[in-house]
């Protein structure tokens, strides 16, 4: 029997087997200020070395201001965390892209942007959205801080093998429907924990037709279905994105890599533990109504009745979510007003996302009473957007144009919402309190977020008069 893409990458990274433990080699270790300090402290305490600084890359993204480049802009605790990262990187020889650096940005935006992530690699980060890098056909997953320390000291991880889930999306995506809508529809279909214990491989003609930015949006939210990782087999789109990128191999190394990558796909007779099929033509612009990403509907559907769910736990969860969100069953989303709009995060802050949002923003002005912010994913994305005058479109429409960072996706800086604020957000989690205690988050695509900013409520972007 053939092998899946996951099994091929796994086999090529197996260092040792010890009983049920498998020791897996890690090619790229991405780190940021929030989940690394205790791991560095652990090395220090035990007098251990960081084995491969050349495979380790750091940035500042979570605890930073999007209004100021000053490290103390969000207070002394954030500053201490940022300074700790800088000191640790200096001490252990890790390359750092700090605030103000022309290549700084959200770790999952800058890794691919710099060409650090290649097909067939293993990539880890103390951050659950590491799954993003699976868009390149790399096995990428989030880890805890103890595991960060383990990778620092050994460049390996002990891992159990995951099950495999093939999600096949075929057909042509309707106009106005985006990669964000595909992944939200998938999570709606399989559920918030539907892929627990699995690595997802996304395939099918609708996935093959996506750009690298769109593929990153898909893989990014694999964790929101509970998956360990999400993968898309590399193809011509992948190679075209990588060719001539700053840190990519060149010459004979590129040729050698390319011939390896070309066989890096699931064999036709490979076995997947589960297979899920979706038709792209069935997918509509999605909006979450609840407090987990699986609680999602098409923009024109009515908010569901809790009784419509088949099991007691889902019914109770829906009831609790509706109460928290201040919504009624049967309500239409076009009747739901927003107070805030956030365009950004490792899910949707790349140049294509900003172009899609700007196209809508160009057609109107931010509605009265709505605060809308656009936070580019990296300094390079910001620069590119400014060279295309997207910043002008946003600011003229009444959006705020900010400095790169994680920002309001989780609000570790001062970009936080107040109780009762309702936000159309291009981020990845609509958990209770995620964007601020008592705040209400609805996950949408960049175009849908921009449209909500202008109308002041949710609206089907396909009917938006551009």
């Amino acid at each position: 029997m053939g092998k899946t893409l996951y099994e091929k990458i796994w086999d090529d990274h197996l260092v040792a087997r010890a009983g049920t433990d498998n020791l897996i080699y890690i090619d790229r270790h991405l780190i940021h200020e929030v989940t690394s300090p205790q791991a560095f402290a652990g090395l220090e305490e035990k007098g251990r070395n960081l084995r491969c600084p050349e495979r380790t890359f750091a940035t500042m993204d979570h605890s930073i201001s999007t209004r100021s480049l000053a490290l103390d802009a969000c207070g002394p605790t954030n500053q201490l965390q940022l300074m700790t990262l800088k000191q640790n990187c200096d001490k252990y020889g890790v390359e750092l892209f700090p605030v103000g650096h022309q290549k700084q940005g959200i770790i999952h935006v800058i890794g691919p942007e710099l060409g650090l992530i290649l097909p067939g690699m293993t990539v880890v980060c103390g951050d659950s959205h590491t799954a993003t890098h699976g868009a390149f056909g790399a096995l990428a997953f989030g880890i805890g801080t103890s595991e960060v320390e383990h990778v620092f000291a050994t460049q390996t991880l002990k891992q159990g093998k995951a099950k495999t889930l093939l999600v096949k999306v075929d057909g042509t995506l309707p106009v106005g429907v985006t990669a964000k809508d595909i992944i939200l529809a998938i999570i709606g279909e399989i559920g918030h924990a539907g892929a627990t214990g699995h690595v997802i491989e996304y395939a099918g003609s609708a996935i093959e037709a996506l750009s690298m930015e769109e593929r990153m949006t898909i893989c990014n939210m694999s964790i929101e279905a509970g998956a360990k990782a999400g993968l898309i087999a590399p193809d011509e789109t992948t190679y075209a994105y990588l060719k001539n990128r700053e840190r990519c191999p060149t010459g004979a190394d590129w040729e050698q890599a390319l011939s390896y990558w070309q066989q890096l796909k699931s064999d036709a007779d490979a076995h997947f533990d589960t297979v899920v099929n979706l038709q792209a033509s069935d997918i509509t612009p999605q909006v979450t109504w609840g407090t987990n990403p699986g609680q999602v509907i098409g923009v024109n559907e009515a908010i569901p009745q809790p009784q419509s769910f088949s099991d007691e736990v889902s019914r109770t969860s829906a009831q609790k979510a509706l109460h928290y969100m201040g919504l009624q069953p049967g309500q239409k989303l076009s009747d739901v007003a927003v107070s805030h709009v956030f365009i950004g995060s490792c899910t949707n802050s790349r140049i294509e996302d900003l172009r899609a949002a700007a196209k809508i923003a160009a057609a109107g002005k931010v509605a009265e009473g709505v605060t809308a912010i656009v936070v580019p994913g990296s300094a390079q994305v910001k620069q590119q957007a400014e060279s295309e005058q997207l910043d002008k479109i946003f600011t003229e429409a009444g959006f705020e144009w900010r400095l790169p960072g994680c920002s309001m996706c989780l609000g570790m800086n001062d970009d936080i919402l107040k109780p009762g604020d309702r936000c159309a957000s291009t981020s990845n989690r609509n958990f209770e309190g995620r964007q601020g205690r008592g705040s209400r988050t609805h996950l949408v695509s960049p175009a849908m977020a921009a449209a909500a900013a202008i109308k002041g409520h949710f609206v089907d972007v396909r009917e938006f008069d551009v």
């Binding site: 080699y25 605890s63 000291a153 969860s317």
Partner: protein, 199 residues
């Protein structure tokens, strides 16, 4: 770290599915550079009525007099979903929990428990119902968790649970995972010599 073997204690019931790590420990506490002191902020949004943690929410299970000192947390499916933050098990253990029994766990959280001597036990929903009901009837119910025998025992019944052998071994012995791997340094060296230049 010393290992876990047998535990006896009372339980706090958190009768909810999809308890995410943002709820277990919200972002405003993640700016700390230490592993310590997170227990005070555990379940902050649910546990306190105010931002400054002065006013306890009397309706929240952990705040009830009868559940003070609990070392076992009961929950429903997909416990620990979302963010990979290890601050979640740090907060749970710092508060005093040694065991979490739930219908299912998110993968990253489950792995993080193993590195913090926090035992995650998965039981089916019928068994969870029995435990929740038993604790509702008798809040001081003593629950015994026997890791070597892979069994949860209390008045409501005796429930066997599964755990991977390497996880069990690690929790029982309290091993230094990095130290163990460093003993395989030669294998890592040898693997590194085989890595192609492009990678």
């Amino acid at each position: 770290m010393s290992g876990i073997t047998n535990l006896r204690g009372t339980a706090a019931p958190l009768d909810q599915a999809n308890v995410d790590t943002d709820q277990i420990i919200p972002k405003q506490f993640l700016t700390s550079v230490s592993r310590k002191g997170f227990g005070k902020h555990l379940f902050h949004d649910w546990r306190y009525l105010d931002l400054h943690e002065q006013e306890l929410n009397p309706d929240f299970a952990l705040n009830k007099t009868e559940h003070q000192g609990a070392s076992v947390l009961l929950a429903r499916q997909n416990f620990g979903c979302g963010s990979s933050r290890e601050h979640a098990p740090w907060a749970l253990t710092d508060y005093g929990f040694k065991v979490v029994i739930a219908t299912s766990f998110a993968d990253i959280f489950y792995g993080n428990c193993m590195n913090n001597q926090l035992l995650p036990i998965q039981l089916n929903s019928d068994q969870m119902d029995k435990l929740f009901n038993a604790v509702a009837d008798e809040p001081a119910l003593e629950i015994e968790v026997d890791l070597p025998a892979q069994q949860v025992r209390c008045k409501a019944g005796q429930f066997d649970f599964d755990i991977a052998e390497h996880h069990k071994h690690k929790l029982l012995k309290g091993l230094d995972a990095i130290g163990e791997t460093l003993e395989l340094a030669e294998k890592i060296d040898s693997y590194e010599r085989s890595i192609p230049a492009w990678r």
